[in-house]
C-alpha cells in the first residue's frame, strides 16, 4: 500500500521567503496537507522577485514556485480582528502551525503559541527565528548570510591567505528548514505517545554552527580557528577542481588513497611525472599538492569535464563535473532519479523544480505551488463551512485578502 506517512495531518504555514516554505513543501512531499496563510497586504517576498531587469513583476511567478510545491494557499489579513478569528478557526481544525516570520510578529497579533494553544491544546508549533526566540539578541534581524556569518561558517570559508567569502547559495535557509522538520516530527512522534503538543523553537544560527563542528572543535581542542584552505582536504590529494575543455568548465577530483592514485595514473596514461617520488604516497602528494595540481590540470585541459569524470569513475576514482544549472537539470542521473522534475505551473509555465533529497515508495504526488489565494474556497467554505455570501463580504472588506 503506497501511503505517504503524514497523510491526514494538517499544517498551517505562516511562512515566507525560503526557510519556512521549504519545510512546508517537504511536509507536503511526505503527505501532509499544508495550508499557507498569506496576504496581499504584505506579500511573500519571493512572490514578487523580479528575475531580470526587463521582466514583468507577477505575484505568481517568483522563486516562490520552487519552494512552495504541493502546498495550498489562502489569503487572510491577520491585522483585522475577523482575520484573526478565521485564523484561529483554521488552527482549531489543524495539527500544527509552522512559521518563520520574525519572532515579534505573532505576539503582536495575539497569535503566538500560548494564544493558539488555548484553541487547540495539543497543537504543535514550530518557530524558526534566526537566533532563537529567547535571549538578548532574539530580535536581531537577518538574511541567510547574516546567520552564516554569525554562526561561524564564513571565517573558515575562502582561498588560503585571502579574506573570508560569502556563500553563493545561502545554505542557512534550507538547513533551518530541515532542522524545523526534525523538531516538528520529533514533537509529532512525542504527541502520538503522550497526547501532548508543544512549541518547538529552532535557532537557525545554531543550526549552521551544528553542521561545522570541525571549526568549533579546532578551537576547543587546539585554541585556533580553522584556517581558510580553499579546496584542500586535510588528508587527500589530489583534492581540487581542474579546468577542462570549454569556457569555465571544471571537474572536481578527490583521491583518497594510493590504490585510487595508481588507478588515476593509469587513466592519465602513466606520464613520467607520476613516477616522481614527490607524488609517491599520500603524504608526499599532500605536501606537494600545488605542483601536483598543475600537472593534473595539464592533463584535464584536453578533455571535457564529463569525459574526465567518466574515465576516473570507471577506474574507481571520485570525480564529478562542476555542473551549471542547465547541465544539472539535464544531467542523465538527475533526470533518471527525478531529482528535478518539470512541473506545469498555471502562470509560471514549465518550470524545473527539485524535490526533497530522498526517495521512498511512500511519497505523495503533489501539484505545483499555488497561486495567491488559490484555495480560498476550499479553506473557507469546505473546511470552515462558511457561506458564499460570508466569504464574498469578507473578501470585499479585505479580510480574506
Amino acid at each position: 500500500m503506497d501511503t505517504a506517512p503524514l497523510k491526514g495531518l494538517r499544517v498551517v504555514a505562516l511562512t515566507w521567503v525560503w526557510a519556512g516554505p521549504w519545510m512546508g513543501a517537504v511536509l507536503a512531499d511526505m503527505g501532509a496537507e499544508v495550508i499557507k496563510v498569506e496576504t496581499r497586504q504584505r506579500l511573500d517576498a519571493q512572490r514578487v522577485v523580479k528575475l531580470t531587469k526587463d521582466s514583468v513583476e507577477d505575484i505568481n511567478m517568483g522563486q516562490f514556485n520552487f519552494t512552495n510545491r504541493g502546498v495550498k494557499s489562502c489569503t487572510l489579513n491577520l491585522k483585522q480582528p475577523e482575520g484573526k478569528e478565521l485564523f484561529k478557526k483554521l488552527v482549531k481544525v489543524s495539527d500544527a502551525v509552522i512559521t518563520n516570520l520574525s519572532p515579534r510578529v505573532l505576539p503582536g497579533w495575539g497569535l503566538d503559541y500560548p494564544a493558539l494553544k488555548e484553541i487547540k491544546p495539543d497543537l504543535i508549533m514550530v518557530t524558526l527565528p534566526a537566533f532563537g526566540s529567547e535571549g538578548p539578541d532574539k530580535d536581531y534581524v537577518s538574511y541567510a548570510s547574516t546567520i552564516e556569518a554569525v554562526g561561524g561558517l564564513n571565517i573558515s570559508f575562502g582561498y588560503p591567505n585571502e579574506p573570508p567569502v560569502l556563500s553563493g547559495t545561502y545554505p542557512a535557509d534550507p538547513i533551518g528548514s530541515i532542522y524545523g522538520l526534525v523538531g516538528f516530527l520529533a514533537a509529532l512522534n512525542y504527541r502520538t505517545e503522550t497526547g501532548k503538543g508543544q512549541l518547538v523553537d529552532v535557532a537557525q544560527s545554531e543550526g549552521v554552527t551544528s553542521l561545522i563542528p570541525e571549526v568549533i572543535m579546532e578551537e576547543v581542542m587546539n585554541g585556533r580557528t580553522r584556517p581558510r584552505m580553499g579546496n584542500r582536504d586535510e588528508i587527500m590529494a589530489p583534492h581540487a577542481c581542474y579546468l577542462c575543455k570549454g569556457e569555465d568548465k571544471w571537474v572536481a577530483i578527490a583521491v583518497g588513497n594510493d590504490v585510487e592514485w595508481q588507478a588515476m595514473c593509469k587513466v592519465m596514461g602513466n606520464p613520467d611525472w607520476c613516477k616522481d617520488e614527490k607524488f609517491a604516497d599520500q603524504y608526499n602528494r599532500w605536501q606537494n599538492q600545488d605542483e601536483l595540481n598543475k600537472l593534473v590540470g595539464s592533463w584535464t585541459k584536453d578533455f571535457t569535464n564529463t569525459e574526465v569524470m567518466t574515465m576516473l569513475q570507471k577506474a574507481g576514482v571520485a570525480a564529478g563535473s562542476s555542473l551549471d544549472i542547465g547541465e544539472l537539470v539535464r544531467d542523465p542521473h538527475v533526470v533518471k532519479r527525478g531529482a528535478i522534475i518539470q512541473q506545469n505551473h498555471p502562470v509560471g509555465g514549465k518550470i524545473n523544480v527539485y524535490r526533497a533529497p530522498w526517495k521512498s515508495a511512500l511519497t505523495a504526488k503533489n501539484p505545483p505551488a499555488p497561486c495567491l489565494g488559490q484555495h480560498n474556497d476550499y479553506v473557507f467554505k469546505t473546511l470552515l463551512g462558511m457561506s458564499d455570501s460570508e466569504v464574498a463580504r469578507l473578501s470585499e472588506e479585505k479580510v480574506i485578502y
Binding site: M1, V150, P164, I178, P213, M217
Partner: protein, 402 residues
C-alpha cells in the same frame, strides 16, 4: 540524549564518517537508543580525522568523531563473518530504524540490501545515504564532500562574486555531508511516524547530490523562467552585499531595503559622500561599488566588529559579525540559550561541543552522553542483552567477529 522525544525507539547504525552517523546522532539526541556498529580494531574512519586534542592523533582523540557520535552505544562487529551476520540479524529484529551509508554494491554483497533486511524485519525503516542514491547511472560512483558539491550544482556557483580565473570554491569542512545527514534524519522521523500509525516500513533512499541540489534555489528559478545560467562571477544588482574588513575582523553587510541603507548611513555618522547620487540606491551602488568600497572601508577600519554589529542591529539592520570559532563559543546569545554543552569523556576529559538548535517546551533538556570508545558497549549488548557469556565474548574477539 538531549530530549526524550523518541522514547523506546531503537536505531541500528552501520555508518561511517559523517552522513549516516550524523543522522543517527540526531535520532539519539532526540532520545532514541542508537547502537553504532564499528569495524573491529579499526572503527569509524572519522576517528582518524582532524581536529585531534592537542594535535595528537589517536583513535579516541578526534573532535569530529566525538561530536558526530555522542548519544550512542558503540559495539564492534565484523559483518563479513557468519557469526557477525547472525548477531546483526538478531539486532535487526528488534530495531525500528536501520541507518547506513555504505556503497549499494557492498550492502548487497553483505546480504544487507533492503530486500534482505525486510525479510528479517518487515516493519523496519531503512535509511540509506549514499553519494548518488540507490538507483540511476551514477549509483556506484564515488562521491564525497567536494564531488557532491559540484555534481549538485552548488560548486559552480561558489563563491559569490568569484573570480573566473580561480577554481570554484568548496564550502568549509563537511557542510554538505552534514546537511545530507540532517535531511536523512528528517525523512526518517517522518516515516517513523508512518510506521507508528500503519506498521509499515520503507527504504528511504537519500542522495547527497540531491541534498546539495536543494541549495540552488535562486539559480534554478532564474533558469526556469529565463534560460539564463547563473555563474559565480555574476555581479548582483545589489551593493553592498559583501564581507568587509574592519578594525579587528570582518562584517557581512547587505541592505536589500533602502531604509536599511539609510539607517546604516546614520550608524556611520552621516558621511558627506553618502548623499552622493552615485550611491542613491542598491542598483546604482552596485554600479559604483569600486568607488563606494574604499569610502566604506575608511570607516569600517576604524571600528570593531562588535561595535558595527551591535550598533547596526540596534537600528534593525540585518548586518552580521563574521565570528571566529572563539567568538562563536563566547556569543552571548548562544550562551543565554545554553547551546554549547560540556561532555566529560574517558581519554580526552571534559570538552565543549555544539549542542542542538531546537528547544521543546514540554520536554526537559538533559545532559548528552559522550561518544563511545571503540567497542565500549560490547559487554552491555552482547552479554547483558543477547545472553552471550564473557567467555563467548573472548572467543568472538579471537575469531575476529567483534
Amino acid at each position: 540524549m538531549f530530549y526524550k522525544a523518541l522514547n523506546g525507539v531503537k536505531v541500528l547504525e552501520f555508518g561511517n564518517l559523517i552522513s549516516a552517523p550524523f543522522c543517527a546522532k540526531i535520532l539519539g539526541d532526540l532520545g532514541a537508543e542508537v547502537i553504532k556498529i564499528e569495524e573491529p580494531e579499526i572503527g569509524d574512519t572519522s576517528r582518524k580525522q582532524e581536529p585531534f586534542l592537542k594535535d595528537i592523533p589517536g583513535t579516541e582523540r578526534s573532535g569530529l568523531y566525538q561530536y558526530v557520535n555522542m548519544n550512542k552505544l558503540g559495539i564492534t562487529l565484523n559483518l563479513e563473518t557468519t557469526t557477525g551476520k547472525k548477531i546483526f540479524g538478531e539486532l535487526l529484529k528488534t530495531a525500528d530504524i536501520f541507518v547506513e551509508n555504505n556503497p549499494p554494491k557492498r550492502m548487497k554483497e553483505l546480504g544487507l540490501d533492503y530486500k534482505s533486511v525486510k525479510k528479517i524485519n518487515p516493519r523496519i525503516i531503512m535509511t540509506s545515504i549514499t553519494p548518488f542514491g540507490q538507483t540511476g547511472p551514477y549509483k556506484d560512483y564515488k562521491g564525497g564532500e567536494l564531488v557532491a558539491t559540484h555534481l549538485g550544482g552548488v560548486g559552480y556557483l561558489s563563491t559569490r562574486e568569484g573570480d573566473a580565473s580561480k577554481e570554484p570554491l568548496k564550502y568549509p569542512a563537511h557542510l554538505f555531508s552534514f546537511q545530507a545527514g540532517l535531511c536523512a534524519a528528517g525523512a526518517t522521523l517522518g516515516y517513523l511516524y508512518g510506521q507508528k500509525i500503519t506498521g509499515e516500513g520503507t527504504q528511504i533512499d537519500v542522495s547527497e547530490q540531491e541534498s546539495v541540489i536543494q541549495n540552488v534555489n535562486a539559480s534554478i528559478a532564474r533558469y526556469s523562467y529565463t534560460g539564463q545560467i547563473s555563474r559565480r562571477t555574476d555581479v548582483l544588482d545589489l551593493a553592498p552585499h559583501h564581507i568587509l574588513p574592519c578594525k579587528d575582523g570582518y562584517i557581512y553587510a547587505s541592505f536589500v531595503e533602502e531604509h536599511q541603507w539609510r539607517r546604516f548611513v546614520e550608524v556611520m555618522g552621516h558621511p558627506d559622500w553618502a548623499d552622493s547620487e552615485l550611491f542613491a540606491n542598491a542598483q546604482i551602488r552596485s554600479q559604483y561599488w569600486d568607488a563606494l568600497k574604499p569610502l566604506m572601508l575608511e570607516w569600517t577600519m576604524e571600528h570593531t566588529v562588535e561595535e558595527i554589529y551591535r550598533n547596526s542591529q540596534e537600528k534593525g539592520i540585518p548586518l552580521g559579525a563574521v565570528r571566529n570559532a572563539a567568538q562563536v563559543l563566547e556569543d552571548k546569545q548562544m550562551k543565554a540559550r545554553e547551546f554549547f554543552v560540556d561532555i566529560d569523556r574517558a581519554k580526552t576529559g571534559k570538552l565543549t561541543f555544539p549542542g542542538v538548535p531546537y528547544r521543546f517546551s514540554e520536554i526537559q533538556r538533559e545532559a548528552p552522553v559522550a561518544a563511545p570508545l571503540l567497542g565500549q558497549h560490547n559487554e552491555e549488548i552482547y552479554c547483558k542483552r543477547m545472553g552471550y557469556t564473557r567467555i563467548d565474548l573472548d572467543k568472538l574477539k579471537e575469531a575476529g567477529v567483534i
